[in-house]
Structure formats: C-alpha cells, structure tokens
C-alpha cells in the first residue's frame, strides 16, 4: 500500500487547502527560501514559487521518520522545541512529520519503547533522519551514558548506520558543549567526530533555536538533502551572520555608547553590552534575526550579553561577563615576578661577565704599562672604551 502523503494526512485531520498553502508559505519563509532552485520545463528555465515548491513536496512526500536520541544533555533542546515560538510548526514536526522515537517525549517506556525503536530502525532503514541531542562520550567505551543497557557509542553507531542524514541539535551534540567543558571527565565530543561516513549537520545553540532545528528538518524533507553549511557544518541560512551583525543594540556600538553595569542608567537606555562581556561579534547564530518566542525577544534584547553558545567550547572561552577582548589568561603576579626575575638574572649575569672582562682588560693594561713605563699613553683611561 502506498504511504499517505503529508498533505493527505493533514487533510484527514481537517486542515483546509487554504490553511495548507498558508502553512507552506510559512515554512518556505522560515527556511529562508527566497528563491526556489530553477527547474527546466518545456525547454525553458522556470523559477518556481517557493511556496508552490513546498506545497508540492508536502503533497507528494510521505511522512519523514525521525529518530531522536538523547545522550549527555539537559533535554533543553527538546524543551525548546516543544515550547517553540511557532506551535503550529513544532506540532507539525512532532505529530505530523512523525517522530518515530523520542526518548523524552514518547508515552511508552522500557521494553515497549526499545521495541518501537528497533522496528523503526528496521522499517525505515536508509530513510530516516537521526536527530542527536546531547554529547556522546568516548571515555571507557561510552559507559558514562547508557540507555537500556547499551552504551551511547553503540546506540549512536547503530542508529547512524541506517540514517539518511544526521542532525546534531544543540551545542552538546554539535561540539561537545557543557559536558566537554574542562576537565571533560567523560571525553564528550561532537557527533561529527564519531560519525564520519554520513552527512552530519550541526545546529549549535544552548538550546538550539527550535525554528532552526525544524527548518533544517523541513529543508531535508522538501529538498531531499541537507542545507549548505559553513566550515563547522552549520546551515549557512541560519548561521551565516553573527549576532552582532543584526543586533538591535548595534547603533549604540557604532556610536560608542556602552552599558557599564546591569543596573545603571546606561543599561536602562539599552546601550551596547560589549563592555559587559557580549560575545555577539564572534558568534554565528540567528538569534538576532529569528528571535525567540514568536519573535518576542532574544538575550541581548532583554539585557543580557551574548554567551556565544553556538560556538565550539563556549563554556571555556573566558568569563561570560568578561569583555571579549580581555586576556584569557592574564599572567598572575607570581608568573610576572618569575619573568622579571629571569630577566634580572640574565641581565645581571651578562653584566657580571662584562664587568669581569673589563677588569681583566684593565689589569692587563696596567701590567703592560708597568712593564714598559716609557709608553705611558697606552695606559690612558680604559673605561670609556668599554661598551
């Protein structure tokens, strides 16, 4: 039996054609599809409307099976997804695009849940999208994070084997995140460091912006491939600009107006938070443009400096409230004193050697003068010749 398409599925649930097209428009907009890729039809290059393309894909494609695994994480990315700014979209992804296995959100537990996963991995082999939340751990073959008696490394490899694509959501799954922070006892790392033979896309953030995760999943569903990425495998559509680039406090930065504390007059006026440790200029994320909670706000807007949570190792990148130009390891008084001592020792030693040399030369000259008293000019003051 042919599988039902997503549109058919939605129609059964009572979605009208008009609402469906609206939804397609929203999806196209959220994916950042300004233009759909041109298609050759009847010997001409046709530029289809992005909405139309999304609608075609949703009416022809069956549901996209998603296996969502959690390793060392706080489930914050799932939380963010389930309370995302666009309930329609998260509902769409969670209910209608089908998540076949999600440890936190599924109703079943124990053997039932494991069986559901096994069946899913078998039935949709080579077709499903694996979403990983939380960092895998390498230490001791992954025993620091086990589910149903299996180590996370085995679980990840098993699920990745039949995945069409892998989406690492959140900083933990992308780069190791907080579990990877020093001293990293579990040797946490990003998914991309373990799985090399499958296409992996990273959606870093703490948590990842839900629209970005859903947008990437939808991109795979509609285009049939993962979006174009940067050198850290982040989708360029969402991670192409820094938070600073689109920041609403940017004019204050340009004007050199900075808040110097969180409770002052300058902070209340909404001045730039650079002085308070904002990492916006080096952080690539869509916070400033997509924002959170239906475009309500994002950290910098609500008065907190950007932590740089979409960058690798952000947890070890210096204090959150320390300016980003500040020295990460300022030399301690002891180190400086040691350096100064080393300089002093080297200088004094060389000066001592010089002085000894000078004294020897003086003596030699004096004895030479004694031996030949007639030639007194050679014993002229020798000091000035040194150095």
């Amino acid at each position: 039996m042919k599988e039902k398409s997503i549109y058919e599925h939605l129609k059964e649930k009572g979605l009208s054609r008009r609402d469906f097209i609206k939804l397609c428009g929203t999806i196209a907009g959220m994916m950042g599809l300004e233009f759909a890729p041109p298609v050759k039809a009847l010997g001409k290059m046709v530029h289809p409307d992005p909405t139309e393309m999304v609608a075609k894909a949703l009416s022809s494609q069956p549901k996209l099976p998603i296996v969502w695994l959690e390793f060392q994480d706080c489930a914050g990315c799932s939380e963010a997804m389930s309370r995302s700014s666009s309930p329609l979209l998260s509902k769409l992804v969670l209910n209608d695009l089908a998540i076949e296995y999600h440890e936190t959100l599924m109703a079943s537990a124990g053997y039932q849940a494991e069986k559901a996963k096994e069946e899913c991995l078998k039935d949709y082999y080579g077709r499903y999208v694996l979403v990983v939340e939380g960092s895998p751990t390498l230490a001791e073959d992954g025993i620091y994070c086990t589910v149903a008696g299996k180590s996370n490394l085995d679980l990840l490899r098993e699920a990745a084997d039949g995945a069409a694509a892998i989406i690492a959501t959140g900083n933990c799954a992308s780069f190791g995140g907080i579990p990877k922070a020093k001293p990293n006892p579990t040797r946490a790392c990003g998914v991309g460091e373990i799985i090399k033979d499958k296409p992996v896309v990273n959606i870093p953030g703490c948590p990842a912006i839900p629209e970005v995760t859903t947008g990437t999943i939808l991109h795979f569903l509609i285009m049939g491939k993962l979006p174009e990425t940067d050198h850290l495998k982040r989708p360029l559509v969402f991670y192409g600009h820094t938070v600073h680039d689109h920041c609403l406090r940017r004019p204050f930065y340009e004007a050199g107006k900075f808040a110097d504390n969180f409770d002052g007059d300058r902070a209340r006026k909404g001045y730039c938070l650079y002085h308070l440790g904002c990492k916006g200029p080096i952080t690539y994320n869509a916070c400033a443009s997509l924002k959170w909670e239906r475009g309500l706000s994002y950290p910098v807007q609500s008065g907190h400096p950007c932590l740089g949570c979409s960058e690798p190792n952000f947890w070890d990148g210096g204090g959150f409230y320390q300016g980003q130009s500040a020295a990460l390891i300022p030399p301690a008084a002891k180190t400086s004193a040691l350096a100064a001592g080393a300089g002093l020792a080297a200088g004094s030693t060389l000066a001592g050697i010089n002085s000894a040399k000078k004294n020897r030369a003086k003596k030699a000259l004096a004895s030479a003068a004694e031996n030949s008293p007639t030639d007194s000019t050679t014993a002229a003051p020798p000091e000035k010749k040194e150095e």
């Binding site: 900075f258 300016g323 200088g347």
Partner: protein, 225 residues
Amino acid sequence: MDWTEILRFSRGPLFHFSLIIFIAGMIYRLVRIIFLGWEKDRVKNQGSKWSGVIISYLKGLIILPFIPWVRRTFRNNALTFIAGGLFHLSLFLVLIFGEAHILVWQSLFGVSWAPLPNPIVDWLAAVGIISLIILLINRLTHPVLRLLTKLPVWINWTLVFLPFVTGYIMYHHLWFPYEVIFSLHLIFVCLLLIWIPFSRMSHFLFYFFSRTIHGARAGKRAVSP
C-alpha cells in the same frame, strides 16, 4: 581552519606567553643599561638635579610637542615632526582610551576608566595609520634616511603598522570575518610585544629613564663634569 579556536589561542596562551617574554625582556634590558655604570659626583653639585629633571620633562612632554618651532627637527623637516607627533598621540589615545583596549587593561590590572567615544577613537586610529604611511614614504624617498635605515627599522614599522591596520579593519567589519581579523590583530600584537624589548621600540619606557638621567645631568652645576 577554525578561527574561533585560533582566536582563543591568541587571546589565551599566546598573549600570556608574549607578556612574559615582554616583562622578562624589558627587565633584562633595564638591568643591562643600569649596569653600564653610573656617573659619580666627584665634585659638589651646586645646582638642583630635580629642577633639571622637571625642566627636562616639561620640555619633552609639553614644549617640544606643542610648541615645535624651538626645535630644529621641525624647522628642517616639518613632515617627520607632524606625522611622527600625530602617530604617537594617536597610538597613546587609542591604546589607553579605546573601549576594547580598556577591557584588556581591566583584565590585566583590574581597573577600568571611561572610554573615549568610539567615533573619536576611530578617527584617531585613521590618523595614526595615515601618519605611519606618510612616515614610510618619507623613509623610502629620503636619501639620508634610506642610508640610515636597516632591517630592524623596517621590522619596527611593520609590527606597529599591522596591529593598527588590523584593528581598524576589525572595528569596521571590513572584508574579513570578525574572528579572523581579531585573531590576526592579536597575533601581530603578540609579535610586537615580543619584539619590543629587543628593539628600539623599548623607547616607550626607556624614553622616561633617559629624560630623567639627562635632566639630572643638565641640572647639575659643578666645576668638573
């Protein structure tokens, strides 16, 4: 290549290392100079060394920079004087009163102060860069200067110019991603920090020692030198 990591490296270990070399090097140079020997007062000093020092500083920091006509350098080569003066002024103000630099001082010494408005710092930096270029052209075209200029001087110029120009590009977000140009800026600053103690650039500190010594000598009134 992940520039965020390079940036973290240059902000952390590299800067730390360069500062240590800088401190050790400066102390080394200072010790070497001190051990060259002090002049002894063989005859009773009739004048005041302190007044000599004060006059020396007034001349060096107030009269010569701002009333330059008393100086032959200015009368003979006004370009060197003006460009050189503007460069030093710009370097000092940008380094001490730029917002980003204040954060560096704060992380090193724990104190901070009010910054100059960014647009002013921006203009000052532009003035510094232009002055440096003018000084370079002057050095390249002046026959006597060319004879006097050896490799260390070219290195001096390059290592001062690169942090200046990368800082300017970074502030304006031109051409490069921010973290790339930020890393380059820091790497050049670190190279400069390592280079300073072993070159004439050490005059940023030794200038004050030599002004003091020369002032004291000028204030001395005695029969024999």
